[in-house]
Structures are given as C-alpha cells and as structure tokens.
Symmetry: D3
Subunit: 300 residues, 6 copies
Amino acid sequence: MITRHDRVAVDLPKPKSPNPNGASLVQELLGGKFGEMSTLMNYTFQSMNFRGRDQDHARPFYDLIANIAAEEHNHIELVTYTINLLLSGASERGTDPTTAPLGVANESRNSLHFIASGQTALPVDSMGRPWTGDNVFSSGNLKLDLLHNFFLECGARANKIRVYETTDDPTVRAMAGYLLVRGGVHVVAYARALEVLTGADLSKLFPIPDISNKQFPEAKVLEDQGLHLILYRNNPKDFARVGEVWKGRHPEDGQKLTVEDGGPEGVPTPELPEEPQLTAPGIGAIDEEMLKELAKRLGS
Amino acid sequence: MITRHDRVAVDLPKPKSPNPNGASLVQELLGGKFGEMSTLMNYTFQSMNFRGRDQDHARPFYDLIANIAAEEHNHIELVTYTINLLLSGASERGTDPTTAPLGVANESRNSLHFIASGQTALPVDSMGRPWTGDNVFSSGNLKLDLLHNFFLECGARANKIRVYETTDDPTVRAMAGYLLVRGGVHVVAYARALEVLTGADLSKLFPIPDISNKQFPEAKVLEDQGLHLILYRNNPKDFARVGEVWKGRHPEDGQKLTVEDGGPEGVPTPELPEEPQLTAPGIGAIDEEMLKELAKRLGS
Amino acid sequence: MITRHDRVAVDLPKPKSPNPNGASLVQELLGGKFGEMSTLMNYTFQSMNFRGRDQDHARPFYDLIANIAAEEHNHIELVTYTINLLLSGASERGTDPTTAPLGVANESRNSLHFIASGQTALPVDSMGRPWTGDNVFSSGNLKLDLLHNFFLECGARANKIRVYETTDDPTVRAMAGYLLVRGGVHVVAYARALEVLTGADLSKLFPIPDISNKQFPEAKVLEDQGLHLILYRNNPKDFARVGEVWKGRHPEDGQKLTVEDGGPEGVPTPELPEEPQLTAPGIGAIDEEMLKELAKRLGS
Amino acid sequence: MITRHDRVAVDLPKPKSPNPNGASLVQELLGGKFGEMSTLMNYTFQSMNFRGRDQDHARPFYDLIANIAAEEHNHIELVTYTINLLLSGASERGTDPTTAPLGVANESRNSLHFIASGQTALPVDSMGRPWTGDNVFSSGNLKLDLLHNFFLECGARANKIRVYETTDDPTVRAMAGYLLVRGGVHVVAYARALEVLTGADLSKLFPIPDISNKQFPEAKVLEDQGLHLILYRNNPKDFARVGEVWKGRHPEDGQKLTVEDGGPEGVPTPELPEEPQLTAPGIGAIDEEMLKELAKRLGS
Amino acid sequence: MITRHDRVAVDLPKPKSPNPNGASLVQELLGGKFGEMSTLMNYTFQSMNFRGRDQDHARPFYDLIANIAAEEHNHIELVTYTINLLLSGASERGTDPTTAPLGVANESRNSLHFIASGQTALPVDSMGRPWTGDNVFSSGNLKLDLLHNFFLECGARANKIRVYETTDDPTVRAMAGYLLVRGGVHVVAYARALEVLTGADLSKLFPIPDISNKQFPEAKVLEDQGLHLILYRNNPKDFARVGEVWKGRHPEDGQKLTVEDGGPEGVPTPELPEEPQLTAPGIGAIDEEMLKELAKRLGS
Amino acid sequence: MITRHDRVAVDLPKPKSPNPNGASLVQELLGGKFGEMSTLMNYTFQSMNFRGRDQDHARPFYDLIANIAAEEHNHIELVTYTINLLLSGASERGTDPTTAPLGVANESRNSLHFIASGQTALPVDSMGRPWTGDNVFSSGNLKLDLLHNFFLECGARANKIRVYETTDDPTVRAMAGYLLVRGGVHVVAYARALEVLTGADLSKLFPIPDISNKQFPEAKVLEDQGLHLILYRNNPKDFARVGEVWKGRHPEDGQKLTVEDGGPEGVPTPELPEEPQLTAPGIGAIDEEMLKELAKRLGS
C-alpha cells in the first residue's frame, strides 16, 4: 500500500520557452525502455514477486528493492512535469477553433501531445511508442534480477545523459541533473547488493557510461550536498534492514553511504495553466451561469 | 510523491490448490486493457497532467482523481499476490533439474510464469500480452476524462465479474469480491464527478453490467459493512476538497457516502515460499559456507 | 458509400456442439495476417487509393478491386458467425455467478472470448493477437498491388485449407468450403488481372497450394453449381468494366467466367441466443417492471 | 452483406496546396484509436456479435448499431480521400529517378506515405502506427457496449476538433466539419440508446468536449440545414425499428430527430492524378506499343 | 560477409515422440526476448555499429563480439531444428483433407505451427509472439554494451535451464545441454571483456543463476571434453586479436581458456520428412506426369 | 553454420555530409517490412524449415533459398553501414555535455539514433518501429513460399527505388544501386524457381514496379558488368544443384544466367570514427593512466 502526497521531489525552473520537440525527446525518460516507467514497474513487480523474503538472508534485499521502487514514483512525476512545462503555451491559446491554434502540431515530432493529450505527457517514448509491460524483468532469481537492475540503471543513466545533451533548457537540465544523482544512487545500490550477495567487487566498473556526474553542473551541485550518498527508507519499521546492503563507501568518490528515513521534503507540484484551445480542462469554457451552478453543486 | 507501506489492503485466503491456468486468467485483472495497471496509470497520469487545478472549481476533481490513483496501487498488489499464491507450488519443488520439475508448463496457458518469472505475476493479460501505455487516456478535457474513467471502471467491473465466474477458488473470489466493492466505489465516484460537473443524473444507469455486487457473497459481506460507501483520502491537508464530489447517496442502495482519512488498515503481505527448481530466489541454492559469508557481509 | 443488408451470404449449419478451441482456431480466418479482415481492408484501401482510375486503361482494374472489396464484407460476416455459433452455449448458462459458470475458460485457448467478449468473435488471430493495419499493402503501383493480392489470396487459401483440416464440425466446414470457392474466385481474378495487364500466362501456377478445391466436399458441391465462375458486380453502372478483366476461362477446369450483377441472394443472419452468465445482452437480467418501462420507452 | 456504390458522402474542395504533414495529422482520424476505422469496426463487430437480437426489446438497439456501422464506411472514405488529396502533387512529378523527386520525404512526419504507399492513406495514426483490433470493444453487454460507444464518439469528437484546429486547409476543414455533424449524430444516438434502455437523462452532459459544433463554420452550415437531426436507415425493411431509439429532440438545440431511409445522395469520388515518380499506378510508364496491346487485352 | 555451410553444430537425437506443446515451449529459446534471435542480432548489430574499432585498444573487443555473433547463427539453427523435429509427425499424415488430420491443433498451445508454418519453427516466443527489433541493444558505449551482453547471456542461461526442466525429451535436452555450454562460453567472454576493459574481477558472480552446468548431464559430458573453454575464431586473419580478451582461466573450474580457429566440425542437417496434409513441401502432391516434367525442367 | 568475414560486398563512398533524416529513411531498407532483415530472415527460416529436401526433385530449390539467404547477410551490412556513415559526425563532437552537442536530435525524425544507439543503425523502419518476426513467411508449401519470395523481392525493389529517389547522397545511391542489381537477381531467381516448378512463364511480368534498373546509373554500371546475371554459390559441394534452377536467360535483357562459386570479393568494412559526446565507444574517455593499464591487460 502507498500514501500519496501532493508534492514533487524537487523544484523545477520554468522553461526558457515552450518546446514541443524538446518535450518529445524527454518522453524517452518517461516511457522509453529505460525510462522511469520501467524502473518503477520493474522494482514494484520484483518486490511484490519476491519469494522467500521471510528468510533472514533475503530480507535486506527485499527491503532495498521495495524502497527504490517507491522513489521511482517521484521520478515519473518529475519527468512528467518537465514535459508538461515544456508543452505549456506551446500552441496559440484561445477559444476560437478557426484560427488554427494547433498549427504547431504540423512541425512537431509527437502529434499525440496535441491530439491525444492536453499538451501533457503520455506513457510513450521519444518516438511516441507506448511503454510496454515487456520492459519488466522479474525472473525470481535474486542475483539475476539484481544484475538486470544494475544494467537497467546504467542504461537509464546513458539515456539521461543523452537527453541532457540535446538541450540547454533549464527545466530539462534541472530534472536530468536530479535524476542523474538519484538514479546514480540506484546504480550503486544494485552494485552493492550484488557485492553483498556474492562477494564480488564491482567498484572498478564505475561510471557506466564513462562520464562522471560531476561533469553535469546541475548534478554536481547536488552531489556537493551529498545527495548521492543517501538512500531513502520509506519507513524504518517496515523496511528495517535496508542498511545491511546500503552501507560502505561510494565507489566513485569514497564518501560514506547513509540511510535516511522518509523521502525528500519536496515542494508543491508545478502550476499548469489552462489550454482553452484544447478545452483543457474545459471548465473555463462554461458560461458564468453554469459556473455558479457548478459552484453550488460543489459547495459541501 | 508516495510513501510505501509493507502491507496489503485485505487478507487473502490460501488457494485450494496451485492453479496455473487460474493464474493465467487472473492476469487479465492485472495487465489487461481493463486491469489494475490501467486504472492505476490512467489516474496517475490524469492527475499529474491536470491543467488549471489551481482554480477553485477544478480542485475537487483533481483531489478525487489523485486519491483514486493512490488506491489503485493497493489493487495491483492484491491481484499480483493472488496470482503469486495460485502459482506457489505449481511445479515440482527441488534442486535437481533432470526430473523435469517444470513439466506442468506444457499444459499451461501462460508459459511465461515458468520461464520468464519465478512462478509469479507479470504485467500481462490473460493471453500473456503485455500491458501497454496505449491503455492510458488523458485528454486534458475534464468532462471527457471523467467519462472515460466511468467507462473504464464499468469495463473493469465486467472483467472482475467474469474472472470471478471462472473459478471457485477462494483466493480469487476474495480478491474479486474486494475489488468489486472498491472498484464499485470508483464507478460511483466518477459518476458523481460527472453529475457535479454537469448537473446530469446518472443514477439510473447503475449497475453496469446488469448484476448487483450483492450477488457476490464475498462482495456482499463487505458491502454489509459499508465498505462501498467510503472514499479514502490519503491526506486531509493535501486533498482537502475530495468531499465536494464524494457526497450524497449511493445510487444503488441509497446509503450515505463518506470520506475516510488514510487508507484501509491492511494486513502483512502474504508469504511466498521459495521455488528452488526455479532458483527463486536462489539464496537457498548456496552452500552452508557461502551462507555464513553472506550473513557476515550483511551484518551491519 | 455502402448499403448494408441484414443477411449473410450462405446458410451455416448448427455446430455439432459448442467448441471454444475450434472457435479460437477459426479466428485465424478472421483476424489473422491472411484473414478476411486483411482481404477486406487491403482491397478497400487499394480502391480508395487508386490513382489514375479516370484513365481508360486503368478503370477496369479499379472496378475489379472495388467489387472484390465489397464481397469481403460478406466473408468477415461468415467467419464471425461461425465463431459465434461455436461459442454459443460454450459455458454454463444462468444468472448465478457463484456456480463458476465460466470455468471452461481455464481450458480454452482464447480467454478473451469469455472475458472481453460475450462469447463472440473479436478481430484477432488464432493466438488471440489483434489484427493490425500493418497487414494492408497499398503501394499505388498497380502491378505490384495485384501481385500482392494474388499472393494474399493464395496465402488465405492455405489458411482456409488448414483450418478446415482441424475439424469435422459442419459449421466450420460449410464456411470454409464456401470461402474456398469464393476466395478461389479472387485468386483467379487477380491472376487474370495480372495477365491482362502484362500478357503473362499464369494458369500453370494453379492451384496454390497444390490441392484442388474439388477435394473438399463442401466446396465441390458449390463448384458443381458453378459458383467458382461468377464475379459479383455491385452495380452495373458504377462498375461497368469489371468484365474486361473477369473473362475467359477458369485456369483449373476451363469453364467460362461470368459476371453477375448484384451479390448472392443470401439468407437471414443466424440466431445467437443470450448468454445470461455473461449478461449478454443483459436485457433479460432486468426485472419485469423494468422491462415494461423499457417497452414503453421504446414504443414509438 | 453490403452493396458498394462508387460515390462519397460529400464534396471535398481541393487543398490550397499539397501538404504532407497535414496529411500525417489527418491520419489520426483514420487509423487512430478514435479514428473512423475504430468506429466502423466497433459497430460492425458489435452488430454481428449481438446476442438476443431476436427479442422484442433488443431489436431496436441492434438496428441502431448496424445502421451506424454502415455510415462509418462513408467516413473512412472521406478521411482517406482528404489524405489522398493533401498528398497529391506533394513530391516532384516525373519519371526520372535521379532527380531526387521524393526529397520531401526527408522533412515529412510520415515517410510511409512516400515509401509504402503511392502518396495515399494507410490505416495508421498520426504517428504512423497501425490501427489495431485492440481498438474494438464488444463485451456483449448492451449497456456497457452503448456506454463504450458514447465515450468512443466523444473521444472521436475531441480528435476531430483538434485536427481541425491544426490547419486552415479547406479540404481538412470541410471533412472535419461534416464528420463533426455526422459523428455528432452518433454521439446523440448512443446517448439516446442509453436513455431509452435505462431511463436516465444524459442531455446535460452535452457537448463533450465543452465546445459546440456551431463554432465550426463548416459544421454550422450543415447543422443549419438540419443534417445533425437525421439518422440514415439503410433499408426500412431490414432495420425497421431504428426509430424507436432515434426519436425525441436533440439535446443541444431541441430540434426534432428524424429517420431518413437510404443514405446521403453523395457525389462522385474525387479525382486522384497519377504520381509517375512513384509508378502509381504505373500504367503510364508503359510504352505506346504495350498500351495498345493492353487495350486489346482489355477490350471485351 | 558470411559463408554458409550445410551443416549444424551438433548431432540432435530423434525425439521420443512428436510433441507440439514441447515445441511451443522451445520457441522461447528461439524468438523470446532472451532467445537466440536476440543474441544473434544484438552482437551482429553491435559489431556492425562498433565505432573506433580501428583503435588499438578497441579492436580486440570488436573481434570478440563479431565472432560470438557468428556462432549464434549455429544456435538459431539448433533451436529451429529441435522445434522441427518435435513437430515432425505431430499431425496425421495424408492427402485427404476430410479426415481432420490437423485436429491436434485444437489442443496445442501454438496454432501457428499448423496454420502459418508447415509444422516448423517461426521467430516467435513460447506464447507465439514475434521476435522484435526492440530486443536489440546497441548503445555504442562499449562498457554498457558489454554489460548488456553479460546480462543477456545470463538471462538466456536462465531460460535454457527452465526449458530444459520442462521435459525429458532427448532432443530438447541435447540441444539445451549444448547451448548451456556454448552460451556459458559467451557469459564468460563478456565477463572477461568487462574485466579486461575495467580491471574489475567478476569471477565471484558465477554462476548466474545459482546452478552449475555440471548438474545437467548433457552439458557435463561436453564440459568434461573441455567444450566450455574454447572460443571459436572464424578466421585468424580477420579477427586476429580475440585472444587478448579470451584468455586466463574459467571462473568456475579454473581451467585454461583457449582460442580455436574455425568453428565446430558439425554434422549434416537433420532430415525433415514431408507433411503431405500440409502440402509441405507439396511436390509429392504432384502426379507422376508432372513430376517427370519437373525433372526435365530441373535437369541442367 | 556460417563463417564470418570482416569485409563488406562493395565499397561505399563517403556521404556528402552527415544526414540524420536521410539515415532515418534508409532504415526502411533495413528494418522495414520489405527491408533486408526480412529477406535475410525469411530465407534463413525457409531453408531451415524445408521439409523433404532429401528428395531429388526438391533439393535444387533448397539450395537456391539457402544461398540467397546467405547473401542477404551482406545486404544488412551494406544498409547498416550506409546508415552509420550518414550519422557519423551528425552531432557536435566533444566531451563536454553542457554544450548541447546532441541538439540536432530535436529536428531529427529518428531520435533513437541519438539516444538508444551511438549514431548508428537499429533494426527499425523509417518510422522507428522495430522489425518483427511477423515479417517472416514460412508456410512449408514450396510453391507458396516461392510466390511469397517473388512478391517480397518485388516489394523490396519498390522500396529501394523510392528511397533512392529521396536523395542525391552518393552513399545511399551506391548502396541502393548495388542492392537493386543483387536484389534483382533474387527477383529473377524466385521467378525462375516458380517457372521450373510449374512450367509457367513469368517473364512478361518484368519489371515490377514498371521501371528498369538501367534507369539508375549506379545500378546500370554494375549491370553493364553483368552483375545481374550471377548467382553466388557459397560452396559447390554443399549446394551443388543450385544451377538447375538458376539457368537460362535474364527476362529483361536476355543475357545468360551463370552460377559463381564463392561470394563477391568485397572490401574492408568502412571506418566509423568515435563519437565522444555519446561516449561511443568510450575508450577515448579514459585517462592516460587507465589506457596504459588497459593496454597491459590486453597484451596477450
């Protein structure tokens, strides 16, 4: 079970300008094979499917996967809001359909943003193809699942780096910087889990791909604050043993890894203005009289 | 953001016996077009994408959708654990691969349960086809999204009824009974939302399909306790206005609808024994010496 | 534009017994790559997309493709009704959901027949996979499109033969026999079109695959009546020149090909009884009082 | 069974200029989830699958769905011809392949128009993804199917509005205006059907989304002629009782609904010139001598 | 470029009996996400896409990937022939279609084996779903691609183990045993490549999953002969430096790794008898006279 | 079994300039329905699945299909390298991620080239959709399979012509010219096979589509050298009888067809420079010290 909060993990700056094609590329980090839908759903299913978790040796690994799953929910939010901010104001606002207000769709890579959604995110990749359950790997074998997760996070890291490199938009960069750091925690976490499970030392593999988070200013500033060292524990009672895996030192800078109870403090969700040409949400399209009646019906 | 708890919403009885084909059918309620992955992801995206939510008239609808989204997480858990319980012990347990322990796969509808997963759930439907992001509808127009959700919940209700009708297994029936009641709340919630938004009276449409929850003993017992009247509010501060939509009387039995803060109390997650023939999780496959070393590496 | 008639092309006998797995196999002839959805949609799109049809040399080919397209609508009907008849009574009829009336789904190849539909056909193949627009070929080059169609009809013929060979059910055999004959007309028609267009003589290729329609009693009886020699022309005014392609002699038995205006006379559509356990259609689930009110509302 | 006519429902003006990206967007109305392929196939399957249609209470609903299915064929034609007109002349005409005549494909959203088809429509959406049978809903439960259809038509309406808003091209607008009106009839029809079936009054839900057809000049002119009030009955004998559902007054302007036998009068299908650079149709590529021989082979 | 030889890598025993459902499961090793189509295509694309291969440090890795790619062709052959042998004689042989010779399809998991193919393999998985290019990972980053390949081979190993466990059929077991050994070489090869590239020591990760090849008699006998120690080099001139990666000792048994020029000696391809009821290949369906003419046309 | 050589069939000139959208279009010839992945996999599967090949009458057809399959490997290489050359240098080279080096992705049709791959080919079509096993046809009936292959090659020919027409880039044209000639051999080969098998004369069908290879300068120069007359035989011992089908005269220019043992001589594979902004391959990203260590670990 989960409890939902009306906040997002980090403050996103406003975009320099609306940017539909930029939004189309960011979709890769949401609905692509290595997007946040994939990390969320892989770990959610692996945790629900975890056999033998009642065993003393297995429980810390269960706790780790379950907690990382929970944090991925924050991440689909951040990518989604980035897309939504890039698309806000991307077409001509107004209520007259005869002015071709959605003309921008003709030059846009993802027409679904204008036809299927109200200039907002969809669970699709940068080519507009839907996320699919085929992206979930849950073999039941712990070592193999951890290896998968380590690879998945490295692949996700490559995608974040590459999407970052497509733009100088501050919203995208802030989001990607944050996710590089927090996704970086997950890379390390699964490497640590494999190390604890088998005794192998994977630290010389880092970083994958061969470029440090420190080269991304928006990530570096967060790592300077130590954000790459913290694993969030949703609840110290439910997931008591996560620290038996998340411990020791960071493979890249040697700092000490720590467990922090609760999640990030977060900030309110970003404001998303109406898009009347898309009747999104459409309440503003109603006349005065009807609005009064609606208010009356709402009034509790 | 979310907080995850290591509990599930309701206690699931043990299956009468392992039942791989039963599990294959229950997958429809997880990864099918009308499965819980769909309800979870539709409302999650609609809430993140909700434009104009800062407006006074719009906020209660946002609160409603966001809260229902959160509850759907409980539901993917319940369906997943039902599948996992049906698959526990479905093949021959043991560590010798030469005894054809997975022979049952030859007569099973979903071979992925034995090859791709460790006899556990996957985000696929009853034909083994993956859930897809194409199942998410998020037009941005509130009225249209609510109509979609009302239809989606009615479609989901039909599927639950039909899967219930395939079996007398107590686990499946307990799960389906609970979901009929709680999904029934969501049917009513979206109907109420449309009524509040437009002034139309949809109560004569109920029930869709034309069979009452009361005809399902496992649902009836819960409705007798009033579980069909409660909308869970994750947090009274974050989602203060959900009660401006969820109010009035139930369209079928006329009882008063109420908002309850927090979610169901829940119970611990079900136990899932190891399946050594699938090396799931595989820790038991390790010899004594290695287990000792693992314990040492875990010891914090 | 089309006019629809409430008739089907040929009378289908009742099945010996309900047969869900048989129905699952027949789906290949409806929604498979070589199913009737494919022939219908290929020729419908090719005709709408036919460039240069105003030219004197091109028009007869347009007329041919457009008319065959129309007949394929009859064929999706026949395959659909065959599936529906095989599924009628396939589960336990009744209104009590607690008797596991849909238990048969556990042993059935296509669970969607019981969960997604009311024991009726869906546009899917014998593995339950949906028909897709990728099955439509419409290159715009007449010779290439005709070659495609010739191949498509030969592939469809192979599928009909093989589905026929899976069963001794009289409904399936009557349907397959009729379609072998009428699809056989389309094989010949596209071969004739290629011959007229290029001057090549394709008659030695027949039959593909290497087995004659005469070996199928249900087809032979129709060919003895000359049904394999007739091309239906929807309307002599709209499609005046179809006979400039459909002429000469049948490549297998040398009989004279003829054009017939209008389509087959047809028979009323088969009766499909209610399936109350699926609330299909559900009107019977309504009580006496409501039925009276419904009758009142219907009364015009 | 159907009879096909070589006409389309309404006259389409010529485009201002060839417009490949415009064509790519219009594809959404053909092969998208809410495109005309979906409405055509949903109602065609629901009608063929309609159980219990022989019952007195059920027949009018069957008649309604079957007749709307037939009209959707007109609609796939209109969208297809709109795409074909937008693509006519979109590349450089000629027979010399070395001049890069298809260079425009490099800047076009849908390359399949130039590679897979002869600058004509395909059953794909605005992202080039194929239409799929997964878009067909046919549960067998009449109330649920009608609710689906009502939602489907509202979703289709949203898509038409949005595609209209992408352009000032007269062909697209004429097509969209006509479909808004006729699709609007289907929205009302399914609402009426639900009202007659259950007694609920859905009229306050209109319009969905929150913008009137009257705001679209190309639709308004047709509604001024009353085109939004007419349901076409293919045949008064086969579908005698459609008027028991289609009756009463239009929910938006209160005018009287009427049944009209036959369909629209229609006009000849639009002319589609050859595209020799694509050898579409390719007959013009043949030399004089061969054309003479072709004429001889055609001569009946 | 490749040269093809009419041989397969290892001799496959005849199946105990035809086994369509067994064949359906073995398909996972051919067209599944972790099947041989995936390994073949991943390495083929990675080798063709390998940037900077002219660099001294990079070339040995290119040589490794290119050579493993080539061996995967042997593996799709072995899996395909296993399927084909299991399906030989699976239906009733004969030329009379009225005896329902393909009745077995009604109880078979994969109907495509009887309808789409002539009782032979298709590039699909154990659920009949087609292999897809989405299974190819080719990021261009060497470390990430190697990590992917290491994971892919471990996942493939898990699938081979599990398919082995479904049956005691000697053909399946011989094939799986051979592939466990040769796929095991590839697991080690990619681990070695990562070790050489980064200096990390991955040997403690072995085996993944946690069961040794030695527990499979058909694999053990081959490892006893040292087959798990050999990497095949297609050509010592073209791929001179493969031995700079493939060297050292096997992580599980410590024996010395060696490079062998050329591939396995192989044996002739298995015999696949005709299936006349499927007209496969259909030449036998031709009468004596036609066979004579065919012989004449063939005679060179 | 195959032997791989580190060469490609023909020398490809350097592109005039990097051209991402050009690369996106060429993908159709690799991963499209009619791309080289399709020809390779169709013939590979048909040859492995060929029943009754031990029969005297059947063997020459097996030899033909198996040999053409082998040549298709050359063709996927040529298309892949064309794409890779077009993408080399397509973004800004460098190691600083903050300069938005991948900005070009915003205007590119296929973003996967920049995010999923290191500016290299993927098994996808011109819309970025993955190649799928559904593209493989292997019915087992020889005549039908040959007809399919003849159609497939004609469709592939149309695609090559159309992609050629999109550009004046010399790399694309050289590749397309070569493939028109060699694919043309395969068109003729399957026509010849049908002719030998049935006695029909298909020569009047040529060319499909209606434009001669001679109109493409890059193809004409190769046909002037007789490259369209040669069928490559991988090995005279393994495939001795291919000349019983490949014989006689070319249907278009009447020259004599000949069998040549071995394949084309070929040339070294094209050079693909590093793309450091994509860390492809990433070895250059390593510092001096690490490179020295790597050299040491490589040194055999």
